[in-house]
């Protein structure tokens, strides 16, 4: 059976990390192209070294590549322009920007739901890191408000992400609400320049609707979810057991549940501190693998 051709659009941190993940575990996929806008970029040089066809013609090259699956790791604005053109070519677009044209997908929550679409959105690294935790809590308690603080090492945050902080924050907040299944979602990114670089850390505050919470039930649900995420990102973990912090909130004095998460990456491209790359590129690999399997079924 012939393999499913896939292309990566965008040769920055995310595109390059994804390239290594596909090369390590191609399964039914054949990486036929890595396209960017700068022939001298580190990402395209590494693709050439790995023997992959490259182009600095960006979307134009992708449209002509014959790829059935395209990973778009450019920027929200670029993806908005690219999406209709890829759809016209009947290419399945996995959007790794916060453009949010297609439905939000977080593999362990709703990974199988949207494979009939032409475009799915992976939201952001912060969303991929936090929504499994938020969903794990909201399936055992009603959540009024969920807030994510996502801190990443400055060295792992490329120019595309920096120019998209507005979309990052807005789209991640919306996805926390919709996929995390809470009444209001909020996402606050932090870029930290510490040396040595910090691992990606994610803190989630959950305000319950009720005045009391069953911490044991939440902990059990979260631990189960952690195992699901570890299937594709082994370095995904809680740094402490879930705790309750009593705080004054707009909903009154509440037992706020605090979840503290850290992600150590596989170090495929950037060193292991860049777990923010892994959490979204490994999710993209999973979605693509499921779609490719479906094509061959």
């Amino acid at each position: 059976m012939s393999k499913v051709k896939v292309a990566i659009l965008g040769s920055g941190n995310i595109g390059t990390d994804l390239m290594y993940k596909i090369l390590k575990r191609p399964n039914q996929m054949e990486l036929c192209l890595v396209a960017g806008i700068d022939a001298d970029s580190d990402g395209l040089a590494r693709a050439r070294d790995a023997g992959i066809a490259t182009s600095a013609d960006s979307i134009e090259a992708v449209l002509e590549s014959g790829a059935q699956i395209v990973f778009d790791a450019t920027s929200a604005r670029a993806h908005k322009a690219n999406a209709p053109r890829m759809a016209e070519k009947n290419q399945f677009a996995i959007d790794l920007t916060p453009a949010a044209i297609g439905p939000y997908v977080v593999p362990p929550v709703n990974g199988a739901e949207h494979l009939q679409q032409k475009n799915v959105n992976l939201i952001s690294c912060g969303a991929q890191a936090s929504i499994p935790l938020i969903y794990a809590a909201s399936r055992v308690m009603e959540v009024e408000y969920a807030e994510l603080i996502t801190a990443t090492a400055s060295k792992s945050v490329g120019p595309g992400t920096r120019a998209n902080l507005d979309e990052f924050s807005e789209t991640t907040s919306m996805a926390i609400k919709e996929v995390g299944n809470v009444k209001v979602g909020r996402a606050l990114p932090v870029v930290n320049p510490a040396e040595p670089p910090i691992n990606m850390t994610n803190s989630v505050y959950l305000v319950p609707t009720a005045d009391e919470v069953d911490l044991a039930a939440i902990t059990a649900s979260v631990e189960q979810m952690i195992k699901s995420v570890q299937e594709y990102v082994p370095g995904y973990r809680l740094t402490a057991d879930p705790v309750i912090d009593h705080r004054d909130t707009p909903w009154g004095k509440k037992p706020v549940v605090v979840l503290l998460n850290q992600i150590e990456g596989a170090g495929d491209y950037l060193p292991t501190y860049a777990g923010n790359l892994d959490i979204i590129t490994a999710a993209a690999w999973r979605v693509a693998n499921a779609y490719a399997t479906g094509l061959q079924a």
């Binding site: 801190a151 902080l165 507005d166 606050l188 870029v191 803190s203 705790v243």
Partner: protein, 340 residues
């Protein structure tokens, strides 16, 4: 040498928001803005301490909705320009647009001092909205002058009208202020230079004077020093000092002193207490103060230990959530098995 008075931005109602747990009443907002406006203060900053959109679990929820705050401030500022802070990712472009529509003149966009490129999107959006822009290089004590200068140049290239050296932690001394302000003045060609002090080491007035002696274009103060950590340069004290130096400030010092006494002194007593001193000494972000005190109490650890460790871990603004992790680690290291 005759000193030129920089444009003064009073940030009582923005930086001071941290000190009062983002709890300003509508009455305080109206009174303070009216008093500052009457005293001739040219720019008044009013927003959540973490800027527009800052009302959150991490940064504290605002007692008064920010749109209401802007409306009250606008109504009471007859001559003064109104400013608000924006931290990209906390404040979004829609927040900035709403603030502009409510009558804000100036948006002050803040990033950590090594991450100026995180401000480009918002700087450019601000210009499209017709706002005057200020760029804030937070925690300027952490980087050498040449790094600050190159980050300032980035902000200038995005169309920023004035770049500030920001001593967020009150960790700088006058000589360092001189070096760093000068470095910005040497490289910037279109943007002005400003300075924002905190008083954790008791040198906010001295630091502000060092900047003014270099001819800095903009300076920040707050009534009674109300601000995060040990507070900011007190507006009325700086004015008194400048009066003594025969600097024409254009602002009524006595009116500011009266406003501080009447409207601010009862809200919170700004002091260089042990925790605030440790923050200045260890270079920990000033808005951590109240959060650290809360967590210290909840977990039974000392604020001092917490703050020193947060300094060692090189935390930056917006990482208040790490306070809990550090408290847990301290307890764990102590072999304290009881969970908080």
């Amino acid at each position: 040498m005759t000193l030129i008075m920089p444009r003064l931005t009073d940030t009582t109602l923005r930086d001071g928001s941290h000190a009062v747990g983002h709890n300003f009443s509508k009455e305080t907002i109206a009174n303070v803005v009216a008093a500052l406006d009457n005293a001739g203060v040219p720019v008044i900053e009013a927003s959540h301490g973490a800027g527009v959109g800052g009302s959150s679990m991490q940064h504290g929820f605002s007692a008064v909705d920010e749109m209401e705050l802007f409306a009250i401030a606008r109504e009471n500022a007859k001559n003064a320009k109104l400013a608000a802070l924006l931290a990209p990712g906390i404040g979004n472009i829609r927040h900035m647009k709403a603030a502009r529509d409510a009558g804000l003149d100036i948006i002050r966009i803040v990033t950590h001092c090594t991450e100026a490129d995180c401000s480009q999107q918002h700087m450019e959006a601000a210009k499209e909205l017709g706002l005057e822009t200020v760029g804030f290089l937070m925690m300027s004590h952490t980087q050498p002058a040449d790094v600050l200068a190159s980050e300032a140049l980035k902000m200038e290239s995005y169309g920023c009208d004035c770049v500030y050296v920001v001593d967020s932690c009150g960790a700088m001394l006058p000589g360092e202020v001189t070096t760093k302000v000068k470095a910005l003045q040497n490289v910037l060609t279109t943007a002005q230079v400003g300075f924002h002090a905190h008083n954790n080491l008791g040198v906010s007035i001295a630091n502000s004077l060092a900047a003014i002696e270099l001819g800095v274009d903009q300076i920040d103060t707050s009534l009674r020093g109300l601000g995060a950590g040990a507070g900011n340069t007190p507006t009325e004290v700086l004015l008194a000092v400048l009066n003594k130096m025969n600097v024409e400030t254009g602002i009524d010092m006595f009116a500011c002193a009266e406003a501080a006494e009447q409207h601010v002194s009862g809200l919170y007593q700004v002091a260089i207490d042990e925790a605030a001193l440790v923050m200045g000494y260890a270079g920990v972000y000033s808005s951590f103060l109240r959060h650290a005190k809360h967590v210290a109490e909840e977990y039974g650890v000392s604020s001092k230990e917490l703050l020193l460790e947060l300094g060692r871990r090189q935390t930056v603004a917006g990482q208040e959530d790490w306070i809990i992790s550090v408290a847990m680690d301290i307890k764990k290291a102590r072999g304290d098995a009881s969970a908080a």
